[in-house]
């Protein structure tokens, strides 16, 4: 990084190298064998590090296993930021691991004398600044995605759905024709009224409670996340969206799904013994299909 520093070191090394030649020529016997053993270990470790770097980069650059394709603008944004971060960390990873492999091989014990420099302030300042700019810069570059998701609410026309996590399934509530969700009263929870929608609240009469989340394609959806017992987490990998559903809180998130299909919602916060099977289908469909689906759900209720 700092060329002046590297230059001084090269000069110092050159005096060492000439000494090394003479040491090699004159010594024989056990010392020599130990030296060869040391060389073997150094070579193997360096090779291992190179193979490790190669394999890691092969898997990351070749995307042997990767995220599923995103289905929203936010997801595509994040993938770009992931790539940016990967390029920077990948370069640092490559350079530092290869440098480690190189010094292990290059400066293995050979009976000579080590250099004795103790540090270099210029180099310290250069790499501290470089690291600071790089790391904080990366952090700032991701900020607009975060702001897009969390610093603004959903727009007016967004479809509102309430999502409730409970041990160990997800429940979704649509407001029905009156566009109003009824109040919740935990004491009224029964087998048939799983969410405890208040019987006395008229706006709750037409609420539709479902076991899977259907949303119309290309329309903004605003979810209100709640939890009935312990903390759960709403995670749909194709939306690149994860948000805890915390008891006592109503947390809002929003997204626009741009591709129809069937996806999966998985719980991502440890919620008890059934955590691994706490899932639900996420169905993205056209608006007419969605309307029909909602009617059908109402009828089944």
């Amino acid at each position: 990084m700092s060329f002046s520093g590297a230059d001084t070191m090269r000069k110092r090394n050159s005096s060492r190298v000439s000494k090394r030649g003479s040491a090699r020529g004159s010594e024989r016997g056990p010392e020599r064998i130990a030296e060869r053993g040391s060389a073997l270990v150094a070579t193997l470790l360096s090779l291992f590090l190179l193979v490790f770097v190669g394999l890691t980069l092969y898997f990351f650059i070749g995307k042997q296993m990767w995220f599923p394709a995103p289905i929203n603008a936010f997801g595509r944004d994040l993938d770009r930021q992931f790539t940016r971060t990967f390029i920077i960390t990948g370069i640092v990873f490559f350079l530092s691991q290869v440098a480690l492999a190189w010094v292990i091989f290059r400066y293995r014990e050979n009976g000579g004398r080590a250099a004795s420099f103790e540090g270099n302030n210029t180099m310290e300042i250069v790499w501290t600044t470089a690291a600071l700019v790089m790391f904080v810069g990366l952090g700032l570059a991701a900020e607009h995605s975060w702001a897009e998701m969390h610093f603004r609410g959903a727009s007016e026309g967004a479809l509102k759905v309430e999502v409730t996590g409970k041990q160990f399934n997800w429940l979704f509530r649509y407001a029905g024709p009156d566009a109003q969700l009824g109040r919740i009263d935990p004491r009224q929870i029964t087998e048939s009224n799983v969410l405890g929608v208040d019987e006395k609240d008229s706006s709750g009469k037409d609420d539709i409670v479902t076991g899977s989340l259907a949303v119309p394609v290309n329309r903004e959806v605003e979810l209100t996340l709640r939890a009935q017992d312990v903390t759960h987490s709403f995670f749909v990998r194709e939306l690149r969206l994860k948000q805890d559903a915390v008891p006592g809180m109503a947390i809002k998130v929003h997204f626009i799904a741009e591709q129809t299909g069937k996806y999966e919602l998985a719980c991502a916060e440890l919620c008890g013994l059934g955590h691994h099977r706490m899932r639900a289908d996420v169905l993205v469909m056209s608006q007419p299909e969605f309307d029909a689906w909602l009617v059908q759900q109402k009828a089944e209720q």
Partner: protein, 602 residues
């Protein structure tokens, strides 16, 4: 506990009798070995739990060997909770700090013992009680808790109605952690006082070995962090047993039962308190490893640590910033998105001292005469693991990128590499390096290298693929892959990891064998087998009970005076008197690197 303290308080001379020498010993060296043995037991226990977990992940129908019942999801979660708790508290916190720190901090600063020997003995036995209480959680009704080592309420606060193990097991877990907090606080007071007040004459702060700096800063972190965990634990316990509502909100319905006694508490409050402790805890685990790695790299590269001052500042910087980044564990928790932004920038900034350390390690090796002893191999492995594990932190520190990755195997990979395996490599480095001093015998280098040759590739093959599991959306803490449809494709990866884990764990028995065999049959160790500079290498192996046999060492040199130009030997012990150094320089071998004499003027 107090009674022991009272009875042993009047021991003036070297202790006699088995009990006072080896059980309730006040000798920091014996206590260090006691901590080490406790951690050794705990690490093999934690490892056993992890291999059982891995078996269930790979083959969901598998049974636990020697057990008749089915391997249920709740058993998996109990193993997971106990694995995390045992490894974080009983291994990563005890071995590098309380174990090796206890043994070598007083010696490296030229002291006869810790400042408060009785307190030291008490902190070990308190830790021991804590471990016993934790293990007892396996044997109570409902078994061990299933809420993870982070114990998030309400799951951890509601009692057995929230799941098996959340009853008596969870209560014991909290009590165990509270006891552990008390033990750690006692230890921290001792470490800091000793470092501040008992340094040998001439041992200024900038002449301390980096190991001492790391233990010192770690102790400060412990001092400030464990009190917070204790407070949080007390509140959680009251929520469970006294019906208070610190963390439990109102209107909860668990298994169809309305929890009417609670109102208005905040689950996020626990997360803030827990991670205010939890993030410094990460550095409590890794800082001693950094210290040992720096120390061993310099010794076996036969070179001064590159940028010693920068290394010291980096250790302090990491310790300081470590208290300001806890929110990065909570990006998806429902915490204010604005504070997430602030925590994110602080977290990115903490990467800077970490980067400084990495560069300085490379600078230390550059131009050296690298001798690849087993200790050195593990130190080099530490550097490699630290780089690999640290860089994935740059993804997780960005709140937006954390959204898809949080609570997935990507995080599991990240923290295992940097906090788990890297810290364990630090412990291995310390063990191979200091074994000759502690037991007066050398460990087998051949077996050590075999151990390393399997372990380093092993841990990489276990944890690198986990990044891809995480990116494919595999949430962590899943008992198996049968519930969520898209996980079925990932099963072969989990099976592959399990097979590698078998091999890697088998290799740890090579270490155990080497350790035990060398205790009895290892080659006798000289005073200074590694030709190192610090004070522990100036006294016999093993050291006498009062370390310096009544002679206080006087320190004239910095900790890493290797390959000083013109000096015949390629190292100068810290306590070598300047006159003999001058004589040696006068008659020294020619041909050294010129222009570096300034270093002797210190």
């Amino acid at each position: 506990m107090t009674t022991h303290g009272a009875t042993t308080a009047h021991v003036h001379k070297a202790p006699e009798g088995f009990i006072w020498k080896y059980v309730f010993s006040q000798d920091h060296k014996v206590i260090g070995i006691q901590y080490f043995c406790l951690a050794l037991f705990a690490v093999f226990l934690g490892m056993t739990l992890s291999v059982l977990m891995r078996m269930r992940l790979a083959w969901p129908g598998v049974k636990i060997p020697f057990m008749s019942s089915d391997f249920t999801p709740e058993m998996y979660l109990a193993l997971l909770t106990m694995h995390g708790t045992i490894m974080v508290f009983m291994v990563l916190t005890t071995a590098p700090q309380s174990g090796f720190g206890n043994y070598f901090l007083p010696i490296q600063i030229g002291a006869a013992d810790m400042a408060f020997p009785v307190l030291n003995m008490l902190s070990f036995w308190t830790t021991f009680v804590s471990l016993m209480v934790l293990i007892a959680a396996f044997f109570v009704e409902g078994g061990a808790p299933i809420g993870g080592w982070t114990a998030y309420p309400p799951l951890s606060a509601l009692g057995s109605i929230a799941g098996p193990g959340q009853g008596a097991g969870m209560t014991l877990w909290i009590i165990s952690i509270a006891i552990f907090c008390a033990a750690s606080l006692m230890g921290a007071i001792n470490f800091i006082t000793t470092t501040i007040d008992l340094r040998a004459r001439g041992l200024s702060l900038m002449r301390l070995p980096l190991t001492v700096w790391a233990w010192f800063v770690t102790a400060i972190l412990s001092l400030l962090a464990f009190g917070v965990l204790l407070a949080a634990g007390i509140l959680l316990l009251l929520d469970r047993v006294a019906g208070t509502s610190f963390f439990i909100p109102g209107g909860l319905v668990v298994s169809g039962v309305v929890q009417s006694q609670h109102t208005g508490g905040s689950p996020l409050l626990w997360q803030h308190l827990f991670w205010f402790f939890g993030h410094p805890e990460v550095y409590i685990a890794i800082l001693p490893g950094m210290g040992v790695a720096s120390h061993v790299l310099a010794t076996f590269a036969r070179k001064p640590v590159f940028g010693y001052r920068a290394m010291v500042y980096a250790i302090c910087g990491i310790g300081f910033l470590g208290f300001m980044v806890w929110g990065h564990h909570m990006f998806i928790s429902g915490m204010s998105p604005y504070s997430a932004f602030a925590f994110s920038i602080m977290t990115m900034a903490i990467g800077v001292p970490s980067a400084i350390k990495t560069f300085n390690w490379l600078g230390t090796l550059w131009g050296g005469q690298i001798r690849l002893t087993t200790a050195m191999l593990f130190a080099l492995g530490f550097v490699s693991l630290f780089i690999s594990g640290g860089l994935s932190g740059l993804f997780l520190a960005q709140p937006a990128l954390d959204l898809p990755l949080h609570d997935t195997y990507f995080v599991v990979a990240h923290f295992h590499l940097i906090m788990g395996v890297a810290a364990i490599f630090g412990i291995f480095t310390a063990t191979y390096y200091w074994f000759p001093k502690m037991y007066g015998r050398m460990m087998s280098e051949g077996l050590g290298k075999l151990h390393f040759a399997i372990t380093l590739p092993g841990v990489y093959l276990i944890f690198m693929p986990m990044h891809f599991l995480g990116m494919a959306g595999h949430p962590r803490r899943y008992a198996d892959l049968t519930g969520v449809a898209y996980l079925k494709d990932l099963l072969p990866v989990q099976q592959f990891i399990t097979w590698v884990a078998f091999a890697t764990i088998a290799a740890q028995f090579i270490f155990l064998f080497n350790f035990l065999w060398s205790l009895k049959f290892g080659q006798r160790a000289e005073i200074n087998p590694w030709r190192a500079t610090t004070l522990e290498w100036t006294i016999p192996s093993p050291p006498p009970w009062d370390n310096f046999a009544g002679h206080e060492p006087i320190v004239y040199h910095g900790p890493y005076e290797y390959s000083v130009p013109g000096h015949a030997e390629d190292f100068i012990p810290q306590n070598q008197d300047p006159a003999s150094v001058a004589r040696s320089l006068a008659s020294g071998v020619p041909g050294g690197v010129p222009g570096n004499d300034a270093r002797l003027k210190r």
